[in-house]
Symmetry: C2
Subunit: 203 residues, 2 copies
């Protein structure tokens, strides 16, 4: 059964694609154009009532929320491809901890910076300088903690690559766009930490 992944032109669905590739799962992509409002069509809202991407369809099983989808496939194909949840319940606990850190601490500021610095004019609204400043400050604090963590362990959850690292990928490509030089330097350093090891991986 080939997995259908909706909305893969956007960042969060890429989290799912990277996971499927790491696990060696066949998939096909279904484009959803947010600018044209295809995510608000009645057919799409049947799949994802919040009108967000991604959604997957796997036979008659439908699932949304990218971090739920990656957990599902990491669990379902535990012994296939890269092990992404750790080997013990304690390791999985730490994977979950850093996945939550990504979702709660890393994602909100990097998302706001991406939106207000990179996409505001294309989307037709003025960048909000207050949001940019606050997001830069928040991101800088998070990156300090990452730097410290990654000086003590090879990956976020320990000595093994996991969903927690993988989940950072889609938005980390946008790092390095901040306005303020101090934050920019930290982002560059974090970029090296977060992306460096991934680019050396065979898959």
């Amino acid at each position: 059964m080939v997995v259908k992944v909706y909305g893969t032109a956007y960042a969060s669905p890429k989290r799912v694609l990277v996971c499927l590739i790491e696990k060696g799962i066949e998939f096909e992509t279904v484009p959803i154009d947010l600018i044209k409002g295809e995510h608000k069509s009645p057919e799409y809202l049947q799949l994802q009532p919040f009108g967000a991407v991604p959604v997957i369809q796997d036979g008659d099983y439908t699932l949304y929320e990218s971090r739920a989808i990656i957990r599902y496939y990491a669990e379902k194909y535990k012994s296939q491809g890269t092990e992404l949840l750790g080997k013990t319940i304690e390791e999985r606990g730490l994977v979950e901890q850093w996945l939550e850190v990504e979702a709660q601490n890393y994602h909100p500021p990097i998302y706001n910076l991406t939106l207000h610095i990179l996409f505001a004019s294309a989307l037709g609204f003025p960048p909000d300088e207050k949001i940019i400043k606050e997001s830069e400050e928040k991101l800088a604090k998070v990156l300090d903690i990452y730097e410290d963590r990654l000086s003590k362990s090879k990956y976020l959850a320990g000595e093994f690559f996991s969903l927690a690292d993988l989940s950072h990928l889609p938005f980390t490509q946008y790092l390095g766009w901040s306005h303020e030089q101090g934050v920019y330097d930290k982002e560059q350093k974090a970029c090296e930490c977060l992306v460096g090891y991934i680019s050396n991986r065979p898959s």
Copy 2:
């Protein structure tokens, strides 16, 4: 081994307490006073570098982020107390989906409303009316989707109580405080849906 839970006077750590109670796990609480800044002490930052609550200590295992902790205990004590992750990988996928919906869609507006309507004056800042209005609108949309979902299945992830339902508890107690009557009505209705079945549960 008794589990130590830090910061249990606050909402997010209650997510952990409810889970430990459902699983029948012994715990003791360690107070952390955020007003006094105890979460910024060097000792506490060793446990939780972001300075947030909760943290648990279970022997020499330390874990933070409430939703990571509840997943850890639901998995570790799978066959003890209430089953909270579903019985199949597909059921767990849906539990993860609705846990993410709680974290990404429900929590941000209810948190903002709680902060700006209930606690702003106690914390010494003026409530931000723009944030209140936006949060009420976002929350109203989420509650519409919950109402629809809970008209089709008994609990969020299906016919079984799970971490997804449990995770809504700490902030749902603050529902019903919105300014605007239309939102207030929806909240009352959602309150019945979300809390009704829980108050009928033996534990």
